[in-house]
Symmetry: C2
Subunit: 789 residues, 2 copies
C-alpha cells in the first residue's frame, strides 16, 4: 500500500552528508526531535532534552537492560500467561545544567533567542546545541553544549558547556545536576508529559509509583571543581542497582563560586560567575553510569569514580578523538554511499548512525526495539535483533553480533522453562522480554509468535556465514539449534495428509493471529530443523569435544537429526494452485477482503481503530509474512512465484508495522519493481525522520534502521550472502548514479561499487571472497578488484 | 468422555423425595453445602451460613442485578476491548442471629453438639436447621431456625429462631444483626475465606476495597420488639443503592431485655433472657431488601418498612402458607416424577427447586450463571438464560419467560452500541454482562461468541412456540430479531465459493476459539436470519400497527428479509464427506488429536492446566458444539448424521464445561445410546450435588439445572416442541418404571405419563394440544387423555 510521505523541511533541516541539523527547534515536535537527536552507545542513551531541563516531552535517560519488574494483571488470566512485566527504567538524569542570568532561568519555549540550533554529527559522534539568548534584562549571552556518549568507554559521557557574554555584564549561574525524576519523587519535574490514555500497545508502561529508591549518595570533594557527586538507587521490585556520578572541570576567563548540595534524589554543583562582555567560560561535565544486579551501590559509585578518573586523565580532546576514530573505523568498513541523492545520503547515514548508537556497546544485552532512546515497547527485546540487526552487525561489526548471540544463549535456560510451562519440550524464546521471561501480555500477538525461535536460528546462520566462526556454531549456536528444533518437532505433528503441520501460531503479521500453517512460520521452522540437523551432523563428524560439550547440556543424539530432517521434508507449505501463490496461512484466502476504499487514512494504523476480531477476519496485513519469508529464505521460491506473491500481498499490506516497508522494498527490487522498491525504501529511510508511524516520540525504530541497511545491501545492491560466498545482482533506482557498499566477509573487508555501467568489488584485507555469478563462481583475492559491467 | 461420579453419601444425606437433608454438617465441605442449601427467590439469595456467623466459606447475600462497576485493566489493551467490569455485590447480611449461653458463643466447628442437621424443603420452600448444644458449662439447649425467602413477595425474608432450654438454667442472649461485611469494613469478619490466587476464570472478582458506602441508618422504635432497624448503602462506583431493614417479634415463655444499637455498617437488636429448663422462646425476624439506582436511600428504607409492615400484618403462618401454595402451583404444573429411582427423584426436584429459586422473582433482571447463590462468574448473565432457562420457563412459567425476554429487549440499545464499537451494524449482545455493557475481558472466549445473538432469537422462538404470544413476537421480539439478523448479515460475507461464511468467531466450545465457520454459529445464525425474515414477513402481511412500531425503531424494510433469507440459504456448513460428519469448524479436523491417554485425571479441567494455545491446537472440546446444534436445530440433521457426529465428538469432549453433560445426554438418547444417555444425565443431575466440577462453592450451576429439565423432557421424555405442536418419542432408562412430565403448551396444562408399556398425555385446561406422531398429527382436547402404546 502506498502511504503518504512528507520529508523533513530542508529549510529547517538542511541537507548535510554527515550531520542532522535543526536550525530552528520548535516546541511542536519536541517529542519526535528528542528521539531524532538522541545520543547513545547501546549501553547508555540520552534523549535530546535541553540542559536547562523543563521543556521536554520526556526527560529520558536509559541504560540497556536496567529494568523494573511488576506483576502483570490480566483482566482474565489463564494458565501460563505471562506473569512478570518488565520495563526499562528512566534513570537519574545527568543532562541537567541549568543556566541563570541575572537569576532568570532560560526556557527555550519563551526565551528571546537570536539563534538556536542543534545537530547530531555522525562522524564526530557528538550532539551540539548552540543558542544566543537575549535575556529579559536585554543582555546577550551565547551558550553552546556538546554532548558525547562514548562509543569506546560505555560507562562514560561528557557534556561540555561553553558560555560567552556577548553584551552586558551579569551574574551567571550554572546549576549542574544529577536528578532522579521518578514519578513519586514529585518534588521535581516529572519525567514526561502524560499523554491521553489510549489503546496504543506500542507505548511503554507508565509507572504510577516510584521505581527507584535512593540508596547511597556521595560527595568526593578532592576531585574536580565542586567535587565529584554521585547518587545511587535500587529498583523496588527487580532489585537492580544503578549509580551515576559526575565531576566538573571549569576553565575560561573567570573563576566561579561553587556550592555543592547532595540529596537522595538530587545532587548538584552550582557555579556562580560574574561575566563581563566578551568573557568566556567552559564547564566540562564528566558523567559515568554503572549498573548491576548484585553489586552494592557503594561499589558501583566506586566504579563511576574510576571511570571518570581515567577519562579525566586522558582529557577531553582525547575523548573527542577516540569517539571520532571509533566512528572512522565504522564508516571505513560500513559506509553506504549514494551518488546523486544527497537527501537520501544524509538519511542513510542517520540510520546507520542509529544502528551504531544502539549496538556499539550493548555488550551482554540485547537490542531493545527502540535502542536506548526511549522506553517504548517497554524497552523489550523482540526478534528485531535477530532478523534486522544481527545481519547488519555480522557484516559490519562481527564481534558485536557474536555478543548478541551469546546474550540469546544466556537466555536459553529461561526459554527451556518457558517451553515447559507451555507443555512443550525444547526451548521457546519469549516474544518480548528483558530478563528472559515472557513479558508479552497478549499471547495472540505474543507467545503465539513461535517463529522467534527460528529468528534466533536465522541470526546464527547469518553470523556463521559472515564469519565462519565454528567455535561458536558448534557450542552455543548448536545448543540453541538443538533446543529450538526440538520445540518445532513437538509443536507440529504429522497429520492425516502425511504432511507436517504447525497449528495455532501467529506469524510476524499481527493482523492475523493464531492461525494454522502460517507460511512464514513453517518456512522458517523448516529451516531451523534442517540447520539444526546439519550442524549436529557436522559436529558428530568433525568436532568431538564440541559434541561432548553439547551432549552434556542437551543429551542430544544423532537420531534426532533424522527426525528433524524428516519433519522438515514433510513440512506443509500452503500453496494455492489457482492463484499460484502461497496463502499466508491455511485459510487466509478464505477471508473477506478488507474495504480499503472505505477506510479513510485517519483510520490507520488499523489496530488503533478496529477491534482485533474485525481485523482478523479480513485479508489485511500489518506486514507481509510471505514476502518476508521470500526475503529470508529466498532460495525456496522461484522468481515467478515471488512476483505473484508480491503482487497479491502488496496491495493488502497496510505497512502499519514499521518492519514492513524495508522488506517490501527489497522484495519489490528483486521482482523488478524498481520504482516501487525506491518508494518503499524512502518509506523505511524516513520512517523516523518523517515520523510516518506517529510514534517516533517513543524512540528510534532500530529494526527499521537495519532494514534500511538491508534495503541498500540486498535490495539495490543486490547482494545475497550465500552458504559459500556471495552473489551480486545490483539494480539502482533510476536517478542514482552510484552506490557503494562496505561490508566484511569471513575476515575480508570488501567494498562493492555500483554505477550505471556496472559494478566492481574490492577486497582490502583478509582471505578473499568467493562471488557467485550466474555464470559461475569467481574468487576475488585480497587487494584485488573484481569488476563486472 | 466418561468422568467419575461419586454420589452424595446417603448416610449423611438421606434420600427424601421432597427435601435435601444433611444430618451431619461438616466443616470440610462448608463452601459446597452453603451453595446446596442456599435459599433464594431470584431477586434475593442467601447462602447457607449459620445464623451465629463466623464459620463459613463465604458469608453471602446477593440481590439480582445489584452490582459494582470497575475499570477493566487490560494487561495489553486494544480498540473496543471491554472497559467496564461488573460484579454482583455481597450485600449487608441479615442472616446473623448470634446465640450466647452464659456469655459463651456457639461455634459449630468446636461446639459439643448432640444433634446438628439442616434441610431444604422443596414443597415448603424453607430452610431449616436444628441443633442441640451441650454448652461449656454442661447445659443443654436446642436451637432451631427456619429461613424463608418469599417466592411471592420478592423483597421479603423471614428467619424464625426457636430456643428450648433442655437442661440447666442460663442467661441466653440472641444478637440479631444487619451486618455489612465489605472488605475494607474490616471491623467485622470478612466475607470470605480468601482462596489461593489462581487462574480460575470462573470465580468472581474479589474486591480489595470497600464497595458499599453507608448512607443512612434507621431505628423505628414503635414497631416490633426492639424496633425496626435499617441500614442503607450505595456502591462507590456504579452508584446503586440498597436498603435492608428488619423487625423482630418475640414470643414464648420469657420476656427479654432488649438493646438496640445502630452503626453505619452494623445494626443489632440484642435480646437477653433468663431461660429455665423447659422454657421456650421464639424470635421471628422479618427482613426486607430494596434496591434501586435512582431512588434515595431513605425512600428505600421506607419501602423496606412497608414490606415488613404488610408481611407482619399477614403473620408468619400466612407467609409459610403462601410459600407452600406458590410451590404447590409450580409442582402441579411442572413436577417431573420418576418411578423406580428415588435417588434421582430427589436430585431432580432439587434441580427444579433451584430453577424456581433462581427465577421466581427475577422479574426485570436476567438469570446470573449462578442464580443469586454466589457471585461466581461475577454474577454475570450469559446465554445460559436463553438456551437453558427460558425453554424451561416457557413450559412451566411463561410469564417469567416473557419477563426475561423483555429484559433482553431492554439491553438492545446497549447491544446496538456494542455493535457500532465493533464496526458493525445491527446489535451485538455482550457475551457477559449485568448492565448491558460487554464485561468479557477475554474476547476470544467472550465477544467472539457472537452466537449469543442467535441464543436470544432461539429463546424468542421457544417462548413463542410455548405461548403463541404474537403481541410480544411482533414488537419487542421482532425488534431483537431485526437487529440481530442485521449483525449476522454484516458479520459474514459471500466468499469466492458462493457460500455465506462467518469467520473468526468462537462457538460455545471455548477449547477452540476464533475460528472460521464454526458449525454451531453458522447453524444458529442461519436460523436467526430465517426467523427474522419470517417474522418480518408476517408482520408486513398481518400486523400494521406492529409494523409501524417496528419501523420507527429500526427503519426496517421488507427487502432486508430477502437478504436474510438469501444469505441463510447460502450459509456454509462445514461437512466432511469422508467421515460423514460436520467438522466443528472449517479446520477442526486438521488439528492434532489430544493425547487423552497421557492426560491424568488431575489435569482436568484442561483450562486450569494448559495454556490456551496448547488446548486450541488440539482436537479436544470443553463441550460439543455440533452436538448442541443438533439438539437446538435438530430438524436440520438426519438421524444417521446425528449418530456419526455424536460418535466422533463424544470421545473428545471433556465435559469441562458444566453445560456439556446435559446436552450429551439428550443427544445420546436421541441416537439410541440409552445407557450413555443415562450416564450423562446422572452427570448433569449430580453436577452440583456431587460437586463434579469442583466449583459448586461458587454457586449453583443454574443452566445445568435447566439442562436436567431438558434431559428429562427432551431426552428420556422424547418431547420435541415443534412449530405447530409437539412430537413425542420417549425412551426411558432401563431401570425406570415410569416418568411423568408436566408442562404448558399454548395455555394448556399437560402431563405426559410414560411407562414401560407406552405413554399417555393428559390436557388439563386451555385450548388443547396438537401432537405430531410419525403416523400423522393428532389433536388432543382439554380434559382428554391421549394414549399410545
Amino acid at each position: 500500500m502506498h502511504r503518504p510521505l512528507e520529508l523533513l523541511d530542508e529549510r529547517r533541516f538542511p541537507i548535510d552528508p554527515w550531520r542532522l541539523i535543526d536550525i530552528d527547534p520548535a516546541p511542536i515536535d519536541l517529542g519526535r526531535t528528542e528521539t531524532l537527536f538522541a545520543t547513545a552507545n547501546g549501553y547508555l542513551g540520552m534523549r535530546d532534552n535541553p540542559p536547562e531541563g523543563r521543556v521536554a516531552h520526556t526527560h529520558g535517560t536509559y541504560v540497556n537492560g536496567f529494568h523494573e519488574t511488576w506483576e502483570i494483571q490480566h483482566a482474565e488470566s489463564a494458565h501460563a500467561f505471562a506473569r512478570v512485566g518488565q520495563t526499562l527504567v528512566n534513570v537519574p538524569d545527568a543532562k541537567v545544567m541549568k543556566l541563570y542570568v541575572d537569576d532568570e532561568p532560560i526556557r527555550v519555549d519563551t526565551a528571546d533567542l537570536e539563534k538556536h540550533e542543534r545537530l547530531l554529527d555522525f562522524s564526530k559522534g557528538t550532539h551540539e546545541r548552540s543558542l544566543i539568548w537575549r535575556t529579559p534584562a536585554g543582555k546577550r549571552i551565547s551558550m553552546t553544549t556538546t554532548r558525547l556518549i562514548s562509543l569506546e568507554h560505555r560507562h562514560l559521557a561528557l557534556i561540555r558547556l561553553e558560555l560567552v557574554m556577548l553584551e552586558g555584564r551579569a551574574p551567571v549561574v550554572i546549576s549542574s545536576q544529577l536528578l532522579n525524576r521518578q514519578d513519586g519523587a514529585d518534588e521535581y519535574e516529572s519525567t514526561t508529559n502524560r499523554l491521553a490514555p489510549g489503546d496504543d500497545p506500542r507505548r511503554g508502561r507508565q509507572f504510577e509509583r516510584r521505581v527507584l529508591e535512593p540508596i547511597e549518595q556521595r560527595h568526593v570533594t578532592e576531585f574536580g571543581d565542586g567535587g565529584e557527586i554521585g547518587l545511587s538507587h535500587r529498583t523496588l521490585s527487580s532489585k537492580m542497582r544503578i549509580a551515576v556520578a559526575c565531576r566538573h572541570e571549569v576553565s575560561g576567563d573567570v573563576s566561579p563560586a561553587i556550592t555543592t548540595t547532595i540529596q537522595p534524589d538530587h545532587a548538584k554543583v552550582v557555579f556562580a560567575f560574574d561575566l563581563e562582555v566578551g568573557q568566556r567560560i567552559v564547564i566540562d561535565k564528566w558523567v559515568s553510569y554503572h549498573t548491576a544486579r548484585e553489586v552494592p551501590c557503594g561499589e558501583l559509585l566506586d566504579r563511576c569514580h574510576r571511570t571518570i578518573d581515567r577519562a579525566c586523565e586522558g582529557g577531553v580532546e582525547a575523548l573527542f578523538a577516540s569517539q571520532e576514530s571509533t566512528l572512522q573505523k565504522f564508516w571505513d568498513t560500513a559506509d553506504l554511499r549514494v551518488d546523486g541523492d544527497p537527501r537520501s545520503q544524509q538519511a542513510i547515514r542517520w540510520n546507520l548512525f542509529q544502528l551504531v548508537q544502539a549496538t556499539a556497546a550493548a555488550d551482554e544485552h540485547g537490542i531493545p526495539a527502540k535502542g536506548v532512546t526511549s522506553a517504548g515497547y517497554d524497552g523489550h527485546y523482540f526478534w528485531d535483533t535477530e532478523v534486522y540487526v544481527i545481519p547488519f552487525l555480522a557484516r559490519t561489526n562481527p564481534g558485536a553480533a557474536r555478543k548478541l548471540l551469546r546474550f540469546r544463549h544466556g537466555l536459553l535456560d529461561a526459554a527451556r522453562r518457558r517451553a515447559a510451562e507451555m507443555s512443550q519440550v525444547g526451548a521457546l524464546y519469549p516474544w518480548r522480554t528483558i530478563n528472559g521471561e515472557e513479558a508479552s501480555a497478549y499471547y495472540a500477538a505474543g507467545t503465539a509468535q513461535y517463529h522467534i525461535n527460528a529468528a534466533v536460528a536465522y541470526a546464527i546462520e547469518q553470523y556463521t556465514r559472515a564469519t565462519g566462526d565454528l567455535a561458536f556454531l558448534h557450542r552455543e549456536g548448536a545448543e540453541i539449534l538443538v533446543e529450538t528444533a526440538r520445540l518445532w518437532l513437538d509443536l507440529g505433528f504429522i497429520s492425516r495428509d502425511g504432511a507436517f503441520h504447525i497449528h495455532r501460531v501467529t506469524g510476524p503479521d499481527e493482523y492475523t493471529t493464531v492461525v494454522n500453517d502460517n507460511l512464514y512460520t513453517n518456512v522458517m521452522a523448516r529451516f531451523n530443523l534442517r540447520f539444526a540437523a546439519q550442524v549436529l551432523r557436522r559436529i558428530v563428524e568433525d568436532d568431538d569435544s564440541a559434541l561432548q560439550w553439547l551432549r552434556e547440556r542437551t543429551g542430544v543424539n544423532l537420531a534426532e537429526a533424522d527426525d528433524w530432517d524428516r519433519c522438515a521434508d514433510l513440512m506443509y507449505l500452503p500453496f494455492d494452485a489457482a492463484l499460484g501463490i502461497h496463502p499466508q496461512d491455511d485459510s487466509f484466502l478464505d477471508l473477506e477482503p478488507w474495504d480499503f476504499a472505505g477506510t479513510p487514512s485517519d483510520q490507520y494504523p488499523l489496530l488503533l481503530h478496529f477491534h482485533p476480531l474485525v481485523i482478523y477476519r479480513h485479508q489485511v496485513l500489518k506486514q507481509a509474512d510471505v514476502v518476508l519469508a521470500m526475503y529470508l529464505r529466498g532460495e525456496h521460491f522461484d522468481r515467478e512465484t515471488k512476483r505473484r506473491n508480491f503482487d497479491y500481498y502488496d496491495p493488502i499490506t497496510t505497512g502499519d508495522s514499521s518492519l514492513s516497508a524495508c522488506v517490501q522494498s527489497i522484495a519489490a527490487s528483486e521482482v523488478g519493481y524498481r520504482d516501487l522498491a525506491y518508494e518503499y525504501f524512502l518509506q523505511a529511510l524516513h520512517l523516523d525522520l518523517s515520523d510516518t508511524h506517529g510514534n517516533t516520540v517513543d524512540g528510534v525504530h532500530i529494526a527499521n534502521a537495519g532494514g534500511v541497511w538491508a534495503g541498500l545491501v540486498h535490495g539495490f545492491g543486490g547482494i545475497r550472502f550465500t552458504e559459500t560466498g556471495l552473489a551480486i545482482a545490483p539494480d539502482l533506482p533510476d536517478h542514482w548514479e552510484g552506490l557503494s557498499i562496505g561490508f566484511v566477509h569471513c575476515g575480508s573487508r570488501c567494498r562493492l561499487e555500483v554505477n550505471r555501467s556496472g559494478w566492481n568489488i574490492t577486497v582490502f584485507d583478509g582471505p578473499g571472497v568467493l562471488i557467485e555469478l550466474d555464470t559461475g563462481a569467481q574468487h576475488v583475492d585480497v587487494g584485488c578488484t573484481y569488476s563486472a559491467t
